[in-house]
Symmetry: C2
Amino acid sequence: MVSGNSKRDDGLQLADMIAGAIMSFAPGEDTGCYSTFVKKSEPAYFFKQALIQDIALSTLLRRARSHGQFPMNNLPSTHIQSILNASIPLFRFATGPLYNDNVSKPNVCDFAFGNPHEMPVAGFADALQKWSVPQNKDWFAYKRSEPEAQHVVAQSLRAWRGIEFEPNDIFLTNGAFAALTVALGAILDAGDEVIFNSPPWFFYEQLILAQHAKPVRVRVNAETFDLDLDALDAAITNKTRAIIVNSPNNPTGKMYPVQTLRGLADILEKHSARNGREIFLLSDEAYSRIIFDGRGFTSPTSFYPYSFLIYTYGKTLLTPGQRIGYIALPPNMPQETRAALNPAIFISQLVTGYAFPNALLQHALGDLDKLSIDIEHLQHKRDWLVRELSAMGYQVHSPEGTFYLLPRSPIANDWTFAEKLAAQNIIVLPGQVVEMPGYFRLSLTANDAMITRALAGFAHAIHV
Amino acid sequence: MVSGNSKRDDGLQLADMIAGAIMSFAPGEDTGCYSTFVKKSEPAYFFKQALIQDIALSTLLRRARSHGQFPMNNLPSTHIQSILNASIPLFRFATGPLYNDNVSKPNVCDFAFGNPHEMPVAGFADALQKWSVPQNKDWFAYKRSEPEAQHVVAQSLRAWRGIEFEPNDIFLTNGAFAALTVALGAILDAGDEVIFNSPPWFFYEQLILAQHAKPVRVRVNAETFDLDLDALDAAITNKTRAIIVNSPNNPTGKMYPVQTLRGLADILEKHSARNGREIFLLSDEAYSRIIFDGRGFTSPTSFYPYSFLIYTYGKTLLTPGQRIGYIALPPNMPQETRAALNPAIFISQLVTGYAFPNALLQHALGDLDKLSIDIEHLQHKRDWLVRELSAMGYQVHSPEGTFYLLPRSPIANDWTFAEKLAAQNIIVLPGQVVEMPGYFRLSLTANDAMITRALAGFAHAIHV
């Protein structure tokens, strides 16, 4: 039996288990181990080299070793190992000392993740309490996509987007994570290719691998952060089944313009016709209500009918532990395609571990849809930080939406710069974790007091 | 755009979409279509022949056709089509007229599924309301398996099973559906084989297919409903990676005895040694707290260390729309195996659409774990129905646990007999839907009034 590990904190537990998994994959010396590991993995991406040069992983491994936690065997399947491999950059940060040795310090200024740093939005708990009272015997019975919740979403999209989605075409899910999983599961065969744009959200690659499909990474334009249409055009093959687009984008804050989206639609139509089957556009619109400066949002689904609109309430409400989101098929998708996708999505939802939202959240959705965090306040924090950081000499653009700022790291190694900031009691996400080496990411969900406290530290770090 | 489908009831919508999917797979004449479909599918099982002879499917297809809902293309992937194929027996019932034309009738006696027919258990809504009040800024933030919830489960298993599970080895999931998905995802490579016992729960085959693995069905003993150890022994190959055991079993109500479980462990150990890798035992213990006559429960995990204990609160609380359950790795599993499984399960949980339970349910788990539906009342309903049905001439055994009775159909075709009962305003599940042709399943979650009303109808149906 394992000794008293249960008393250790959660971060350390996770650090140990991930480190154990890495070791199990390629036992050997610390640094050598990781080099071996990278060679064995997917084609090395530009950002992985930075990791190898870094010693933080060996620190992590030593820590795990000191706890005597080393499995002697590989992970139980090569499949799950491949998914772990794709997760290493994130796990290395999330389970390593840079984050875990600092996050619990007093007065830490935590900009690492899009986590809440204030109490939940007013009205959220009230809605849960109100709808916890059962109104009939079926109140907490098995739920699929409840007609009332489908109606709330269709009405919401009509009010907000001006498009008449059919309630039938709304699939309620456990947030966007589940919506993406379900969408991919509904359309992919083993060996199909799925394109995603880099920098990406943390888990696109893993979700594609989980379906036994092939992830294909395409970089956005390095200057404008816009989609690189030529590169996308070149990346599509006769095995391409889907492309994932995230607008506004985490981590760049870029909202793709109408012209780009029209160009993307043309490319997808051309290749779909050539391939004799549709390439689906999975539009991850998690941040589509987190938009600044009064800008309108143009959905990537607007110009291409074979689209899945994917949304989660987890960002708008900043309650990602209560999971509700959806897939919506747009009304300009041909009826026969929607009719074929409808059962496919339903069945995919079943075999994604019954990925329907909890009954309570579906009952409460009419109330929850009306709530939001304070976007003006978020915009104020964006302006405040952009102004202050720029004045200090940081190169930082002003994002059009999302929770994130993405300043350039003043030194080439963003991990090292993040360590400098950590010495100032400031936690940021090194850019290499989100495939943006040479940058660092700040979450605007940090509270005002954190920002106030952090300014001197940001000013200090750029000059040492 | 689809016309006013949104106004149709949910059952009809689903009927249409499934029927459309079947048609899309093999367009043609109704009966011919289904024959073609069966030939194209997995090796025909004994129970599928019964379906082909039946005309109910063509009724379903005609209904869908009359709504003009026919996709012209196949489902978007052959993978999702294979999962749909395995779901046909259930969908044929759940979306067809035998269920849907009757379930909303006044005074219907609905024994079809393990759904609630009384108001939720006292204390459940109170617990949700109490724990909806945020106690800190992280109350509804991203949750993995929360340490407090892991502790509740470990304490609960200690009190109830007398085994000291490590909190670290508890993985909280969105119910047992997600726990099974996550467990399979953690251990399987494409082409691995997974054995399950027939009659099975509705979705084992689909969950195995979803992992690109091969389902292998082994019948239980037709007389005793006990596991057929010789058949299991013969079914294991060098590709077998796991076996799913469900005790007490839905639909037979059988609780596998210690001697059987010891024999199973011997077989698994023998083949694991021969194969040079462990065959994992996935023990679906959803009904392990729904046991009658003061019997103790012996977990199938007790005798075989390479086991996953899988549990859901959805049965004990009869609130399957609020999804919380878990995987527990037993303390007799070697430490290095647990250390290797730990990250595999964690990652599998991520790519199962973030299959962690909602924050609220994890906060409330200490309270929820103490609640239960009234098992004595359930036992009373079992005794009442067994006594009355037996007196009428039905052959029915008394189940040791679960929600279900499984009487023999007085006529060979259980679907036809279910239609006779439907004419008496009684809905039951034809045995062929759960791979038990010649039987029908009754859920004891029906309320007392339903049972009282149904007795005359049961008596009438056996004599016409």
